[in-house]
């Protein structure tokens, strides 16, 4: 079930600022498992399960990173700018796809001999057009392409694009589907434009003004050859975030998450992320401050076209989230 859901979600188009399609897919998935749904001004999908206890905001972002067309030259090659944290290294000679299905290859100006000299201004997308006119009939300035790669599975590990953060969305959807009873009012928020600077979460949190916020997003791992030191590994269980650049997890939220994991015998890891932030970074500074934390999904190769997560981490992540929601929340 999780595998099918992840496959479906990761293959849907939805770069930052253009989340309409993925939002519809998520809406269909979660319909029937919540009491009401609405879409706010910026495009966040808010699915509410009514309750009388604490107001709990859960956030996973729908948007993925992409490439926006800024110029079409006389030969039909496209110049582009980044939408979110794309790196040069992750883009060279990768395949991309536009909303209308047009595919292309990203490459760089041929006269460059040293890979370190490649900058985005010297890269282009080749959609195989015969010239400017044909290219203009295929794409327009402002169109955004995303990585074109398919979902696959090997020995309990899933690989695909946009695990960041469709894995988080999948975790929340599964949670909504399996949640039997909870005393709390739960807002399942599928946010927009996280990759552009946690923008959707800011306005969603302001509107909902919850008692506690928990974001669900991917985090890096330290378990690949000579990786940067990090005590998180695939298969070690969902990670409970201590801090990242955008936020220091509230100590009470952190300890709540740890207690629930320990009580239910769910494996977990503590996570410190040296670079990067999540929606919780925006949520916790809303209004008078909202105690917040993050349930992280360990993920290798983040922001590439082949992000890898572990099936047991996903399953344990859902279990942990269910256990948190089913119990008391005292902050």
């Amino acid at each position: 079930m999780m595998k099918e859901l992840l496959k479906k979600l990761t293959e849907v188009y939805g770069p930052s600022g253009n989340e309409e399609v993925i939002r519809d897919v998520i809406r269909q998935e979660i319909e029937g498992f919540v009491d009401e749904m609405r879409v706010d001004t910026l495009g966040n999908l808010i699915a509410i399960r009514r309750g009388r206890g604490k107001k709990v905001m859960l956030a996973a972002h729908m948007d993925q990173i992409g490439f926006m067309v800024t110029h079409i030259d006389e030969k039909g090659f496209l110049r582009f700018t980044r939408v979110g944290g794309i790196s040069v290294g992750n883009s060279i000679n990768r395949r991309v796809i536009f909303k209308n299905g047009v595919t292309g290859v990203i490459s760089y100006e041929g006269e460059i001999t040293d890979i370190r000299d490649i900058k985005f201004e010297r890269m282009y997308i080749d959609i195989g057009a015969s010239g400017q006119q044909q290219a203009e009939s295929m794409v327009s300035i402002g169109d955004v392409a995303v990585y074109h790669s398919t979902f696959s599975e090997n020995s309990g590990r899933y690989v695909g694009k946009a695990m960041d953060d469709r894995a988080g969305c999948a975790l929340l959807i599964e949670t909504a589907k399996r949640l039997q009873s909870s005393p709390h009012e739960i807002y399942f928020v599928f946010t927009v434009q996280e990759e552009l600077g946690v923008r959707g979460a800011k306005t969603a949190a302001y509107a909902l003004d919850p008692d506690i916020g928990i974001a669900v997003d991917v985090t890096l791992t330290g378990d690949t050859p000579k990786s940067r030191p990090m005590a998180v590994k695939l298969g070690g269980g969902p990670a409970i975030k201590v801090r990242d650049v955008s936020m220091l997890a509230h100590p009470r939220v952190r300890s709540l998450m740890v207690s629930r994991a320990q009580e239910a015998g769910i494996p977990y890891q503590m996570e410190i992320l040296e670079t990067g932030g999540t929606d919780a970074g925006a949520i916790h500074l809303t209004r008078e401050g909202i105690p917040s934390g993050v349930l992280s999904i360990p993920c290798r190769y983040v922001h590439s076209d082949s992000e890898m997560v572990d099936a047991s981490d996903m399953e344990n992540g859902v279990k942990l989230m269910l256990h948190i929601l089913e119990g008391e929340i005292e902050i």
Partner: protein, 350 residues
């Protein structure tokens, strides 16, 4: 309590950004005798409210100083029980070698920060600053014991209690900005001897060192009419440019620039001159690296001023300042608060 004793007490309590609960408790107790009301919010910002006259339309003033200090955090424990760490706030890695620290696990553990000994390093390496990933904390215990007592995310503070230097100079870690919190306390005491018509909220804020976060949420909560931030600035040091640093005995520093309300700042300077108080001026072309930058743009905007104490060796374990300046800043601030009359709203508007 004397300023020095209060500071010494504060500085001995661990409180890195995000872990301020213990410091908040001490500050809350210290504020109580001087405030009508003391509260602590869910992020451990402490609010001490002080009023004298109650007048219709009197200004609501927020005075902020941050209680959090920079420090370290456990990021891993290796197979032999050495603790790997990361920084919280702007820690210069060059101060770390041979530092004494406390690891706040299930129990406080004493430790030292070490690295590969010099005679085992290559000559070229010896000239470069050691990187954090090559350092580790030695708590003198075997792996199993460390694992029992210490978890990833545990706070680590430096051992560097308040120390007397010559004259009124003192040194230690976290004077940035516990000295500011001391100014808040001293100002309350000064105000006890003055009449004033303002609703003053003295706020010891959290998480300033990681992005003025406590100030963001506390300013939103208070919705003040006027904001004052108390922080530190650079005292003169032999190897620092003269035009970027300040004398240690010419009083506090008043900041000017786009982050500061020009008329309010002028009023502060007028008060200083009226009472013959020394001060210096710091020009800040950008939003300042203090709580003032969050306060000014809160909700509908807050006219803000910034008072700073010159401090040498900022963000090291040997931060140094002149206790006199703390007293002077408090006296200036108290007089300033007392000087605000009914027409404060009119002369303040643009």
């Amino acid at each position: 309590m004397e300023i020095k004793d209060f500071l010494a007490q504060l500085m001995a309590i661990p409180g890195i950004s995000g872990n301020e609960e213990a410091v908040a408790r001490v500050i809350s107790r210290a504020f109580e005798p001087y405030c009508q009301e003391v509260r602590t919010d869910r992020f451990y910002n402490v609010y001490g409210r002080k009023v004298d006259f109650i007048k219709e339309g009197m200004p609501r003033i927020m005075v902020a100083a941050h209680m959090d200090e920079i420090g370290l955090m456990v990021s891993d424990i290796d197979e032999r029980g050495f603790i790997r760490f990361t920084t919280v706030g702007g820690v210069d890695p060059r101060i770390l070698l041979a530092q004494e620290v406390e690891v706040h696990g299930k129990r406080k553990l004493f430790g030292v920060i070490g690295a590969k000994p010099p005679h085992l390093q290559r000559p070229e390496d010896a000239r470069k600053a050691i990187r954090i990933k090559d350092m580790a904390i030695d708590v003198g215990l075997p792996y199993e014991r460390v694992k029992e007592l210490v978890s990833i995310g545990d706070a680590i503070t430096f051992v560097s209690p308040l120390m007397d230097l010559k004259g009124q100079m003192v040194s230690g870690k976290s004077l940035d900005d516990r000295a500011g919190v001391a100014v808040l306390l001293e100002t309350m005491k000064e105000l006890d001897a003055l009449r004033f018509a303002a609703d003053v909220f003295f706020v010891a804020t959290v998480q300033e060192e990681v992005g003025v976060r406590g100030a963001t949420i506390s300013a939103y909560r208070l919705e003040p009419d006027i904001g004052v931030a108390i922080d530190v600035t650079h005292g003169d040091m032999p190897d620092a440019p003269r035009d970027e640093t300040f004398s240690m005995n010419k009083g506090p520093v008043i900041a000017v620039g786009p982050n500061m309300h020009p008329k309010l700042t002028q009023k502060l300077m007028d008060v200083a001159r009226e009472y013959g108080m020394d001060y210096m001026v710091e020009v800040e072309p950008r939003p300042t690296g203090t709580d003032a930058r969050a306060i000014q743009i809160s909700r509908r905007g807050v006219p803000t001023i910034l008072i700073e104490i010159p401090l040498r060796y900022m963000h090291t374990t040997v931060e140094t300042l002149n206790l006199n300046t703390v007293k002077q800043a408090a006296r200036l601030l108290a007089r300033f608060i007392a000087s605000l009359k009914e027409d404060w709203d009119e002369w303040l508007s643009y």
